[in-house]
Symmetry: D2
Subunit: 182 residues, 4 copies
């Protein structure tokens, strides 16, 4: 058995005593499609096009099974179904999945407030973990809302609930707003 | 074209104008193997067994291409090669990948300080994004260090550098320490 | 003129060109009074006794002009009137005042959920600054609410509004819950 | 005994059973002096003038006994002597004092990297509390360092040590950089 050195080394191959490996295949489309086809649209229109399947989801959304299901001005909702492929070594879904959902929800909520030609980049995120996520958690819903829009810096919050409606994580994220160039 | 509703719906199928989908297959082993085979080991021994390939990597590590490459008492290093499958809709690797790397590095650094039978769970994480990550970033290195060990709460920090040695993110994470039961 | 080396060195004495120094006198009571007189009371009763003036305010509350004005289970409100003595070198009230208010509001909200004999200590706080505070801001109101109570770790949030009802800061804080000893 | 409603109501007057009130007088100078006398100076020169007593300390520095004792490009140190007037109701120095020190150290470190005419404002701060501060802690030293300077957003870190050299708090703070107007 050897330690693989990169993505090309997937699938990992372990000794027989590890049992059979499990497998999952992800597909996605050229990530350049979204900005290319978003030209001239304001942020809300872009998010709604992604929600409605008129634009492809981001590759990371396919990788982590995140689906944008609601998008209005200042508020979006992502859903995500926990899978075994997201588990950490201590027997629950890795906290990074909640971070990714929260970052997406917060960032996309900010995106819905931007005029055509404006952009954003995340400055930071703070995520509070409240409850472990497992395969029994049901579909996660991550709601992002804009706490304060801005022309320079915007603040957004995210809350993630499990399928039983219990709060599993909260987050806040600051985004730097990028003015149209030229 | 229809919006898929869950992981079973992968692969996404888009219209022809989206071009050909790209594809990646991930494999992993039963996540219950790690705790089962860690019984009686202290945290450092567990981390070193994962580093050396004597225990399987966590499923999330396979999914995001994270490799534990260094583990000593109070300090671990993960590597990760950016891939297109990690991209967000704005043309760079999703910030959630940095969060996941940082959470792993911080949490595993805390894990290396724990005696056999003790556990931990993350309370929160704050991640500061300093530089966009792209396919050109080279191999990311996430170094986790324990700022303050503890028998109740421990604090760890993480720094992520790109292949050129530039700092791309910093993080701090508090972990709740779980005493052996019984 | 010489640089003073400690609190005993107050009042600072500057050259004549700095104009007349301004002065403020703070008074407080022995901080040991509050825990001594709280024995046997649950957290809500302690907070309500402080609110009603039956227990002295904490010294820091006097120093920064913070007044506990509402206290119910899981929610408290502090008020604070900005003063020139709180200014930073860039011409607005120092952000630390918002941090202190937010930390008080979050921590005291957690305190209201604790049974007699239980205690807490803050693990961390994240404060987002949304709007500068000045002498024209009016009375600040900091509302602390418990996001998730807990027997080991609790999470609370705080929001600070100015006298015109505008949001000036948000915060989240994790608290470690201390079980009764013995 | 009545609940005072504002700073004018200081000194608080409690019943005899509270014992004698303690008192502290703070003095400061017009906070407008610092920006007025900083015109044309770069950030490092301003910080060094404050350090050397050529400019008055900020009012908040007098109120909380904070003294800027070191200032070089990208790094500053504040000292602060804990006093009873900073105590919270649970018998230790209020966490807000650490927040204020950390915010000052981080912000002033960023300030030392700015050219004349540029300014900054804090976006947020995350403070991790590691050890309680009391009158026995000795002189606190808060060291602020710039993790990443920037022309739009800068990140700084702060560490606070007690008189025995033990780490009592760590912090990170993002600052928005304000370009010269006109």
């Amino acid at each position: 058995m050897s330690r693989p050195e990169g993505p090309a080394a997937n699938p990992w191959s372990g000794p027989e005593s590890w049992g059979s490996p499990r497998e999952r295949t992800t597909t996605w489309y050229d990530p350049a499609l979204i900005p290319a086809r978003s030209a001239g649209l304001d942020g809300l229109a872009v998010m709604q096009a992604v929600r409605d399947g008129e634009l492809p989801p981001a590759p990371i959304a396919a990788l982590l099974g995140m689906r944008l299901v609601e998008a209005e001005r200042g508020r979006v909702v992502f859903e995500c179904t926990p899978e075994e492929s997201m588990y950490n070594p201590i027997g629950v879904v890795h906290g990074g999945v909640a971070c990714t959902l929260a970052d997406s929800a917060a960032g996309c909520a900010v995106h819905t407030t931007l005029d055509a030609g404006w952009g954003y980049t995340s400055i930071d995120i703070t995520v509070n973990y409240l409850r472990a996520v497992t395969l029994d958690s049901g579909v996660l819903r991550a709601t992002g809302t804009v706490t304060k829009p801005g022309r320079r810096v915007a603040l957004a919050a995210a809350e993630i609930h499990d399928g039983a409606g219990r709060l599993v994580a909260t987050a806040s994220s600051n985004c730097f707003i990028i003015q149209p160039s030229g």
